[in-house]
Symmetry: C2
Subunit: 562 residues, 2 copies
């Protein structure tokens, strides 16, 4: 891999080490404060807590926005697999903070792939340097999941520029005082555009206009009308933006906006999955610490009458292991997906890229849904203290809840998976995924008792996947509703299987390390996590299979009370 | 049933009708306000929002606290099955409001069973009239699930009274301004009491002392030190109470406090399960309304390009039906349990009472866990709007989270189920439960295709239950940890099975009604709900069985990082 050949492992470890220190020391302490104070809105301006302004300045100064972006625009050019690890740490420290760089990454990606040379020259350097931030302006009151209903207008001004008018809602970091400028990427329609999704164009609408020399000029006609009062991520301002004939610059060609936006959205979807892993990890760490410190009740097996730390009670162990194995399983899938994206792009390997694209909705859908469960278990481990806001467990439960919703709900991910990633190539990529899993099973069969147990659970789960796949391929031709009734169950089946598989590969690697006498405790725990996942979570694949194969008519035929 | 022979169905329907109007008109409108304003604490006093004070006065005036309590103390003497329906409506209207009467019910029950005649004469009438409220003072900072660690002291004063000193936390409605007086029931230890659970006594500690003529005298030495800032049920004040040699009156005998408290706690546990059903129902109603009104995207099967109400999309139907079937399944189990409690008590039928007691931890554990899931799905159905607090869906998600924690966590319910309700009688009651289910399966086998499908899912789930039961009975003798590693999975298995069974009985009744030409739409929907539950939720029993039978060693052997 020529592209990344400048880096060796120690370099990367050093970067991640530094990033991790920054997250732990500068960002993590903001999380509770951000939740309590939140972003505030007054006289059309959004004010971030002062501590966020300072921390963001440090983030930009240290060059952390540049991590995975191209060297020619000031980036560090690291692979996405490294970027995913950094993203997880930042969002584990504070998801509200993490959202600003996350959206900026998406804007950079969209400009890199679809912007003109002039646009790249104007916007990329300050975005990558963290001096400006990016936003994604899709949603309107009548257009949420249904982007075809976008109504914001773009009038040609005759000088190559456009006048953008309309209202956008749910715009993450749509207004704030962390950066000098905000680069809005906005979906809108020209007057003669076709209706529906095929008539949307994508525009750059800078909050402050940029002079030819790159300095900032007049304020554009983009006004923040209000910000939302939300369940979680309260320091991340969610803006309603009004565009009143704001100056916009077309990206690429007219009417191809949705296509360009999808580039940005796919980056963001992967990142949201990683946010899920991040919240899960933070919730797990907090619950583990609490379970070690909190002393309550005599263990059922104990001879003495003494109370013990609750981590000694079987059900607390069950909850902690469920949290840990879902978190590590999600992380393993995300890392594998990022690796496939990196390698697929470098080597122009279509099969690898197709497999990565098959896995992106799993990362988003599975990891975000599981983050809600993991955060909920984190509250439960804390008992009554978990319900008290000061403890912090409740914040994760609130923050996590947006993950299965934004950047495409779980159902949207499932439709993407089933429609675009499975049915379109008649299951070819999905079958390749299953074959790779079978190869891992074969390796596990030659291992010790734990490896064999993992392998046999994995084989059962893969069988469930293949049978669901066959059924969906056969039935989608006859009746789309019948197939799509099983779309989310199929996403969860595939996501669970992918996580179990990735953990199983990790267990094989851990066993090899153990055999070589390396890192005993860590490697033993990796295998234990994979085994727990195999015995407690992989069996859920069979339930999903049952739902898909036998559950469609009870779902479609039921009526609802008037 | 002589005891309830004064009531006929129209009487009961009329009472519930009136109660429902009161809940809808007077209580439901408070819910958002209570969440936003919350209870406030100033200078040692808790102030409820003014609207709660007025609504509570109406609640008391209309005699609603009296519903299920004995006629001789001013109660209406209705069966518990009716009380459960009322409780659900009140808590669906507003759980924060509902908690005050719920705790008062528990105090009444404890006094009825264990109080002296004089205590009954003094406290019952004003409690049942709703003029006074009751509280349950168990938890201390070091004593949560582990009540054996209670340290509050009770010093004999020589005049039959006791001086109570100590700090209690998490006291629901421990301080408020809704009623003239608050009757605290407090667990404490006399100086010479044995250590652990066997040394606890139960005391009545009125907030205002009661004169011999029943009028209120001086304030007792019970001070509210603070109230908690909670994730949900924010209008329900959760107090830290300090007892400084407060005057207390012993209930029953010294050192038998835990036994008396369990009476109160069992009532409260059942009620918390019903709160879960209540929150689920409210979340479902809200999601259903939204899904009918919100127009987004063309249905996958649609010929036209027009967007449709989202209820037409298969995955939205899946979510709504999951919400509905979990809610109705929980309700059916709670109603059956209440019926068994009523009949078991009236007829002094030990088998029925044992079955009811087997089912109480299912009502609490299963319905409360599922309420969290249902409320979470309610947010998901709303998409981005679900994350905005003004919509209301997020409040249910926050409110519901306390349910699997208070009045004994899910693990405590599972230990109660496994230890006291299953292992103690060597599975006798559990087997009776399975036999009753098999009888229902036999009836379903004679029905139409839907009935047969329900019957066959039910048989599979019952098989999973019986195999888990056999395994637990065999293994608990060898190794308690191994058995208790499966306690929560067993609770969820049994709860899911009980709900599927209860819905199946409902489907049989609905089919009989249909055959008699009654209430077509309602009865058809009942059958549809039971079928959905059978095909989408009952299969989860098999996963729980796998966890119990094969998952204990991966759970017990794993270690955690230092």
């Amino acid at each position: 891999m020529k592209r990344f050949s400048d880096f060796d492992l120690p370099d990367i470890a050093a970067v991640l080490e530094g990033y991790s220190r920054f997250c732990a020391d500068q960002i993590a302490p903001l999380s509770h404060l951000g939740d309590t104070e939140g972003a505030s809105f007054e006289k059309g301006r959004v004010k971030m807590p002062e501590e966020y302004v300072q921390a963001y300045a440090q983030f930009a100064d240290m060059g952390w926005q540049a991590l995975t972006h191209p060297v020619e625009y000031g980036g560090m050019g690291l692979p996405r697999a490294v970027g995913a690890a950094a993203l997880e740490m930042l969002n584990a420290a504070d998801m509200s903070f993490g959202l600003c760089p996350l959206l900026t990454d998406g804007a950079i990606e969209a400009l890199l792939l679809s912007g003109s040379d002039e646009q790249k020259a104007t916007y990329l350097e300050p975005l990558i340097a963290g001096r400006w931030s990016g936003t994604m302006n899709l949603t309107e009151p009548q257009a949420g999941s249904d982007l075809g209903r976008v109504a914001t207008r773009a009038m040609r001004r005759g000088d190559g520029r456009y006048g953008i008018s309309g209202t956008k809602i749910f715009i993450t970091y749509g207004a704030h005082d962390l950066t000098e400028n905000i680069v809005h990427l906005v979906l809108a329609r020209t007057p003669d555009a076709p209706t529906g999704p095929a008539g949307m164009s994508l525009f750059i609408v800078p909050q402050k206009l940029v002079e030819p020399d790159g300095t900032l000029g007049a304020e554009n006609a983009v006004n923040c009308v209000s910000i939302e009062h939300k369940l979680g991520v309260r320091a991340s301002p969610t803006a309603v933006l009004e565009f009143n004939d704001a100056t916009g610059y077309l990206i690429g060609d007219e009417n191809r906006g949705l296509e360009y936006m999808f580039v940005m959205m796919n980056v963001a979807r992967f990142s949201v999955g990683v946010q899920g892993i991040a919240i899960s990890e933070r919730a797990y760490q907090r619950a583990l610490t609490f379970a070690r410190e909190r002393v309550q009740s005599r263990p059922v097996n104990s001879k003495s009458g003494d109370a013990a730390p609750i981590i000694e009670h079987p059900d607390v162990r069950r909850m902690l292991l469920r949290m840990r194995s879902l978190t590590e399983g999600g992380r393993a899938v995300a890392a594998a997906t990022a690796g496939l994206l990196d390698v697929g792009r470098c080597q122009d390997n279509k099969e690898m890229t197709a497999l990565a694209e098959f896995m992106v909705p799993l990362v988003k859908g599975f990891c975000s849904e599981r983050a809600v469960d993991v955060a909920s278990l984190g509250v439960q481990v804390h008992g009554g203290m978990g319900f008290i806001e000061e403890t912090g467990a409740a914040q994760h439960y609130r923050d996590a809840r947006i993950l299965p919703i934004y950047e495409g709900t779980t159902a949207i991910q499932a439709n993407d998976l089933l429609g675009r990633k499975v049915l379109r190539d008649r299951g070819e990529t999905a079958r390749r995924f299953a074959i790779l899993i079978a190869e891992t099973e074969a390796k596990l069969a030659g291992g010790d008792a734990a490896a064999q147990a993992i392998g046999s659970s994995l084989a059962q789960a893969r069988g469930a996947f293949e049978s669901a796949l066959d059924w969906l391929l056969a039935n989608s031709r006859k009746d789309a509703d019948t197939a799509y009734a099983g779309s989310v169950p199929f996403l969860m089946l595939a996501g669970t299987l992918a996580a179990g598989w990735s953990l199983a590969k990790g267990a094989l690697a851990a066993q090899a390390a153990l055999d070589a006498g390396q890192n005993r405790q860590f490697m033993t725990q990796k295998i234990a996590t994979a085994l727990f996942f195999a015995e407690h979570i992989l069996p859920e694949c069979l339930t999903e299979q049952t739902r898909i194969l036998y559950g469609s008519s009870s779902l479609l035929d039921a009526t609802f009370p008037d």
